[in-house]
């Protein structure tokens, strides 16, 4: 815009000012691409071949940029391109043109060429623009050889675009920037364009481009520039790819390495080698199925080796790494996905098969023998859905195709068998002419005439050799809501039996747990945690607590938890869990009571503690301690002998003693051998447990009174601990309060 208005007054402004205006104009188009057409056309008069060098440079570079811009579509560029051609021609044809102007102008021409060609294809009347384009082309091809390197680079690129536009495309690339313009678009009868001639020209230009590789040039910028613009031809122009590949594979990028290695040659050799290698790697990656892939791979590997030799100081490690990467793939990104799971589908042997056998894919005999019909349909459906969700699709495909193959071969075998058994009734209407029915060479056609579906139907209709699973093929495959069948109603007797069994299982571990070794048992101290050592003792602690406390608080008769159960069939035979365990625990202790007296003590301690808790809570749940203690004492008193000092210990250690409990000892005195034990035990209690001294002495007194045999010993203790008792008994008066006496002693 600014440039537009400045055009007529060009002479009035300095070059610097004009450049500044041009830059402003450029910013405008960069910001808003709808101005491109206007501004490009507007600046053409300013940058023509008669303008100042600075302006021509700026102009050529601006044209190159504008004609290449990705913001405009091909159709939007057409108008602009055609308008620019004349100026472009002027710049390129200008005698002794500046290198930078030429470089940019040729680049602009490269961008313009496909667009102009497309324009001519559709607007053949416009001969003038094709004339300009042709002139530009011939001038570029003319200066190509003698031009300085930057211009040469642009010429290479221009030639590449001409080749691209004038060869047949495989239609693989639909891209912006005119890469998709090809010979395919030119109609054979075009008045200006002769496709055969254009294609011949393209072939010639490709050869000329590849010349730099064929000559094995070490002019790195030219070789790199050529290699780096060949990939699009390789990919999209099949007629060029063999030519290109052969040339590149015959090129030796390391030739320069034979000359003395200066820092510059090192840069050049490295550049040529890597550029060649990357180009081939790219080709291999894009087209792994290329028939020349093997050659390319070899070439790449050879390059890596040679390079490692040439740059062996720094190259060693890198080459090895590269090599490893080439042969093994990127070590950092190894594929974790393993190969397909080995699913082998064994073919069926000869002979009749059940439908189940046809569908059995496992080699495991046990599994194969499993009768799936035993499963309820609901469950089978659930399992199937789960399995299908988790199954790899490839495995499923493999299995399906395996089954299909089996069916096919089965069908074929059946056909053969049928042919063998019933000597062919040849249908005269369908029998091929000239086929003798006993022709020995006759090979039955093994491909089935029916499809798998039909074979399956046939198999379905065949009399089943075993009851079919509830496979209702027609049933809709909708899963109804699945409900577990209700459990059978529980018989109270069975329930009681089961809970007893459950309780006895609690004692199972005791037989396997080792006896605690008392010798190495450290004193755990008062802060120890019960049942934390995971040995037999811990387990016993657990059992005793299960017995005493598991139902604590649930036994409250008046709590109203189970009023409706009262008197029901369930109620009577039932024992609470605690009672069941108590029962078993009791039996367990009595089995070997001498050694398990400690357990008894521990148990009673727990019972006593639990009773205290119950009392404190004020509920009227039953108390257990007294009953258990009496029962235990009853239990082992009948087996006791004179040597069983454990009795003394037991009575000394249990937390509470009562008159009835000590009264049990009197029974021992009926047997003269155990009198001593009973009385010694009582004496021990008198001496060591002052709170029960009175009860104990009372018991001794009772013994003295009741058992003649025990009297001498009892008298001896009574004399010592209750002086005057015997005398009072003798006189028929009982001591009023033994308590005072005891305290007096």
């Amino acid at each position: 815009m600014a440039a537009d208005s400045s055009a007529p007054s060009e002479t009035a402004l300095s070059v610097a000012q004009q450049l500044q205006q041009l830059n402003t104009a450029r910013k405008v188009v960069l910001e808003n691409n709808s101005y491109y057409d206007k501004i490009v056309k507007g600046i053409l008069p300013i940058i023509g071949h008669n303008a100042a060098l600075e302006l021509r440079r700026w102009g050529a570079e601006f044209l190159a940029e504008s004609l290449a811009t990705p913001v405009l579509r091909m159709s939007e560029k057409e108008n602009m391109t055609v308008a620019v051609l004349e100026t472009l021609r002027g710049l390129i044809e200008g005698a002794d043109e500046d290198m930078i102007v030429l470089k940019a102008s040729v680049a602009a021409a490269a961008s313009a060429y496909p667009v102009a060609l497309r324009w001519i294809i559709h607007n053949s009347y416009h001969t003038e623009s094709w004339e300009h384009m042709s002139a530009i082309k011939s001038k570029i091809l003319q200066i190509w050889d003698g031009a300085p390197v930057p211009v040469k680079l642009s010429c290479i690129k221009f030639a590449q675009r001409v080749v691209l536009a004038q060869t047949m495309s495989n239609g693989m690339e639909q891209k912006y920037g005119g890469l998709d313009i090809s010979l395919n678009m030119i109609p054979p009868n075009h008045p200006l364009l002769d496709p055969r001639q254009l294609e011949a020209e393209a072939t010639g230009l490709l050869d000329r481009m590849l010349g730099v590789l064929q000559d094995n040039s070490s002019d790195a910028p030219l070789v790199d520039a050529t290699l780096n613009c060949l990939s699009i031809l390789m990919r999209t122009r099949p007629s060029t790819s063999n030519r290109i590949l052969n040339t590149v594979l015959n090129f030796n990028p390391l030739k320069l390495a034979n000359s003395p290695m200066t820092p510059k040659t090192r840069v050049l050799v490295k550049s040529l080698e890597k550029t060649t290698r990357l180009f081939l790697t790219h080709v291999l990656k894009r087209d792994p199925g290329n028939p020349m892939a093997g050659r390319i791979q070899q070439y790449i590997e050879r390059l890596i080796r040679s390079r490692a030799e040439i740059f062996d100081e720094a190259g060693r490690k890198r080459a090895l790494a590269d090599h490893a990467a080439a042969s093994l793939g990127d070590a950092k990104r190894q594929k974790t996905e393993g190969g397909l799971a080995q699913v082998v589908i064994p073919p069926l042997g000869p002979g009749p098969h059940t439908l189940a056998a046809v569908f059995t894919l496992t080699n495991n005999l046990g599994l194969a023998a499993f009768d799936a019909t035993q499963l309820p349909v609901n469950l089978a459906a659930k399992i199937s859905v789960r399995a299908l969700v988790a199954l790899d699709k490839k495995v499923l495909d493999l299995a399906v195709s395996g089954i299909r193959d089996r069916l096919t071969s089965l069908h074929a075998a059946a056909a053969v068998a049928a042919a063998a058994t019933q000597p062919a009734e040849i249908n005269a209407a369908t029998a091929p002419l000239g086929v003798d029915e006993d022709d020995d060479d006759y090979e039955p056609d093994l491909t089935p005439a029916e499809d798998t579906e039909q074979i399956l139907n046939k198999l379905d209709n065949a009399p089943p050799e075993e009851p079919m699973p509830n496979a209702d093929a027609g049933a809709p495959l909708v899963l109804g809501p699945f409900k577990l069948p209700p459990p059978p109603t529980l018989d109270p007797n069975v329930a009681a039996k089961l809970s007893q069994a459950a309780a006895s299982r609690v004692f199972g571990p005791l037989s396997s747990l080792k006896e605690g070794a008392p010798l190495r048992k450290p004193k755990a101290g008062i802060n120890r945690l019960a049942a934390s050592s995971y040995d037999r003792d811990s387990w016993l602690t657990l059992i005793t607590r299960l017995a005493t406390r598991s139902t604590a608080g649930l036994e409250d008769v008046n709590s109203g938890i189970k009023p409706e159960d009262a008197g029901s069939a369930l109620d009577r035979p039932r024992m609470s869990l605690g009672d069941t365990i108590r029962e078993i625990l009791y039996n367990y202790i009595l089995e070997d009571w001498r050694r398990r007296i400690e357990i008894a003590v521990a148990w009673l301690c727990e019972e006593w503690y639990n009773d205290q808790l119950t009392k404190r809570s004020g509920s009227d749940a039953p108390l257990h301690y007294e009953n258990c203690a009496l029962r235990l004492v009853d239990g082992f008193l009948s087996y006791i002998t004179a040597q069983d000092k454990v009795l003394t210990r037991f009575l000394a250690e249990i937390p509470e003693l009562s008159r009835p409990l000590l009264g049990k000892l009197k029974a021992l005195c009926a047997d003269p051998t155990t009198v001593q034990l009973a009385l010694t035990t009582l004496l021990y209690l008198v001496m060591m447990r002052p709170p029960v001294r009175d009860i104990a002495l009372d018991t001794v007194a009772e013994i003295w009174a009741e058992y003649e045999d025990a009297r001498p010993l009892a008298a001896k203790y009574l004399v010592k601990w209750r002086p005057g008792f015997i005398e009072s008994q003798a006189h028929g008066t009982s001591a009023p309060a033994g308590n005072n006496m005891a305290i007096a002693t």
């Binding site: 000012q17 830059n23 910001e31 060098l53 811009t69 031009a147 680079l153 642009s154 699009i232 990656k285």
Partner: protein, 257 residues
Amino acid sequence: MDPASGSEGSSAPAQNGQPEDGSGFKLKFCTVCASNQNRSMEGHLRLAQANFPVISFGTGSLVRLPGPTVTQPNVYKFNETSYDSIYRELEAKDPRLYRANGLLNMLGRNRLIKWGPERWQDWNVGMPRVKHEKDKGSVGMEGGVPDVVITCEERCWDAVVDDLLNRGSPLNRAVHVINIDIKDNHQDASIGGGAIVDLADSLNKAAMEEREKVGAAAFDAGGAASRASFDERVPEVLAEWQQRWPDLPSTWTLSWF
């Protein structure tokens, strides 16, 4: 600007800060590393401070930053995550760790340079970058096409060259792609940044000398090394630079946008 007219070409004022001006000519650069965070951004900043037009990219699939352990990197998407948001996220996660390993410092620098990490492969070359005025090094980069791409790792160079082969060179515009192997840590990135500026200065000098030659003289004397063009002199300049920076192995090729 002096209104006086008539002075042509080489006599134009030298230091007017206008990159487009002939004498103040500046090559346009592009720095590339894996995540567009450390090495390429150090290069970006240093080149911008040296008044070069510059943009920067990463070639990785995702932006990866170190996390609390090797197996727990912090991962972000290119083009969608700003340096500022990453900064704030990491600061909230573990300010002590990310300050100690220099990440916050680096992100704090980056968010002053441009909005966020950009991915090379997603870059539409030649798209005008007029909306990036606040980016450092944006002046002169409006056209969106650099003259030289500098990668900071061989892997990135391979990715860039391969990507250019893939694009099929629609713009017909030559570009020098140079790799400088820089280790991915803050100290080496800083050294590498200095080396990149040194290389840029050397290349720019060669380019300016090319532009000072006028007309037919250059055309005729194409063979003489001293008068050779910029494109020819790039390997030579790189070789000289390599002598100065022997610990930063380099690779170069000439490719096309």
